[in-house]
């Protein structure tokens, strides 16, 4: 037999097993750790399915950042560090403390619903046309007019520019709504819950230039190979979180105006591009002239990297940080 098929079967078994356990395990802390490994298995699957762009983002976001957020929230819910999280806080965390536990009818109903949903999904997948290239051909035909050489970057920042623009809007909205929920105006007084030790401080100090190098390299790479604003932004976020966690200057030392400015930089840059192209004669809105598109995309990518990095690190710092008394 061939080894690829064997690898596929193992990977899928691991994915299903890990997600089954993470939904079923009674220990909430165990479930959180399993969730992180779920993200890592997923990014292996992305590599296998020839999507290295997504694998890069998933390993950093799905496994790294989501894990940090979940662990931080778990700690926030269980400050006295008892591992019996489920029993203690399940009551405190339910939206409706009066209603009874799910009974047999509830489970049966849920199972029927899930079964019919999965069956419908299966029918939809079987119904897909057997032949056809999707949009691959169209993308490759227009690639040399897009200003970049990597097809995924071309789709993200030229052909489907609108999606990426609105996505940055979603990021800004998420950061602002978390500020509202946590009753804060900015991040300035938030401190990590533990005092960082000297080793960590030194290590992060040494790592920072390397991480800056990686951010710039990933950003530059997006032009012609897997990489780009998303991946660079995620590494930037990791760097900002590490700096904050080890007690160095990070986004928490920015003034409110500067923080807000870097929050909306990506969205604003795209808005600017939209306004300029809309008022330009003989061009439709969001249509870039061929000779300028490379430069426009690079400028937008730099701003988007800054925004993604700042928003994602703010999410983590807001969920991990505490106000010093």
């Amino acid at each position: 037999m061939n080894l690829t098929l064997l690898f596929d079967v193992f990977l899928i078994a691991a994915l299903l097993l890990v997600s089954w356990r993470l939904l079923g395990a009674s220990d909430l802390f165990q479930a959180t750790v399993l969730f992180i490994s779920f993200g890592l298995f997923l990014s292996l699957a992305w590599i296998r399915l020839q999507a290295p762009d997504i694998a890069l983002a998933e390993a950093a976001v799905g496994a790294g950042l989501a894990g940090v957020l979940l662990l931080g929230t778990f700690k926030g819910l269980e400050p006295e560090e008892d591992r019996e999280g489920e029993n203690l806080s399940s009551e405190a965390c339910r939206l409706d403390p009066i209603s009874p536990c799910p009974g047999r009818a509830h489970l049966l109903l849920a199972f029927t619903f899930v079964g019919s949903m999965t069956a419908l999904l299966l029918l939809a997948v079987l119904d897909l046309p057997a032949e056809g290239d999707g949009l691959t051909l169209l993308v490759f035909q227009s690639l040399d007019r897009s200003g970049v050489e990597h097809p995924v970057t071309a789709v993200l920042l030229n052909f489907r520019f609108y999606d990426t623009w609105l996505e940055l809007g979603v990021l800004v909205a998420a950061a602002l709504s978390i500020l509202c929920v946590r009753n804060r105006l900015d991040l300035r007084e938030l401190r990590p819950s533990k005092v960082p030790d000297v080793m960590l401080r030194r290590l992060v100090m040494g790592l920072t230039p390397i991480m800056i190098l990686v951010v710039v390299y990933l950003l530059w790479l997006g032009d012609h190979a897997p990489g780009g604003a998303f991946q660079a932004g995620v590494v930037l976020a990791a760097m900002l979180i590490l700096l904050w966690f080890s007690g160095h200057a990070s986004i928490t030392s920015l003034s409110r105006i500067l923080w807000l400015f870097s929050l909306i930089a990506g969205f604003a840059m795209m808005l600017l591009a939209a306004v300029i192209t809309a008022s330009w004669p003989e061009m439709r809105p969001l249509e870039f002239a061929e000779e300028w598109s490379g430069a426009i995309i690079l400028a937008i990518e730099v701003a988007a990297t800054l925004s993604i990095g700042v928003v994602l690190s703010s999410l983590a710092i807001l969920s991990l940080g505490a106000v010093e008394d």
Binding site: I12, L70, L77, S89
Partner: protein, 112 residues
């Protein structure tokens, strides 16, 4: 690349994606802890992304379809910001429930 191999890979991974979506919805409906519900939502998202990427992989000649890949890349970032917001809400709800428990008259939040 051999076409039948691509197709069998597609069926394997799309089956896994469907099972992930199913498991995620089941977890979302039956598990009570809000943190677990957030994880279940993320499992559903993982299944949806996997389905999109296998479809992109299926339709290839030299390179997988870049449009679904770009969509998933966007989706991952949107999913993480939604997760961050949901977790902030979970903490807030937890805080209010705790306040309600220590409130001696139980009047403050008892509006059910």
């Amino acid at each position: 690349m051999d076409l039948s191999m691509v197709m069998s890979t597609f069926f394997l991974y799309s089956l896994a994606a469907m099972l992930l979506v199913g498991m995620g919805i089941y977890g979302l409906l039956t598990r009570r802890h809000l943190l677990r519900k957030v994880m279940a939502l993320n499992v559903i998202a993982g299944g949806v992304f996997l389905l999109l990427i296998t479809t992109a992989y299926r339709n290839q000649e030299h390179f997988p379809d870049p449009v679904p890949q770009a969509m998933v890349l966007t989706g991952i970032v949107v999913a993480i910001s939604a997760t961050g917001f949901a977790l902030a809400l979970v903490r807030r709800i937890h805080q209010r429930m705790k306040d309600a428990k220590t409130d001696p008259f139980g009047e403050k939040w008892d509006r059910s």
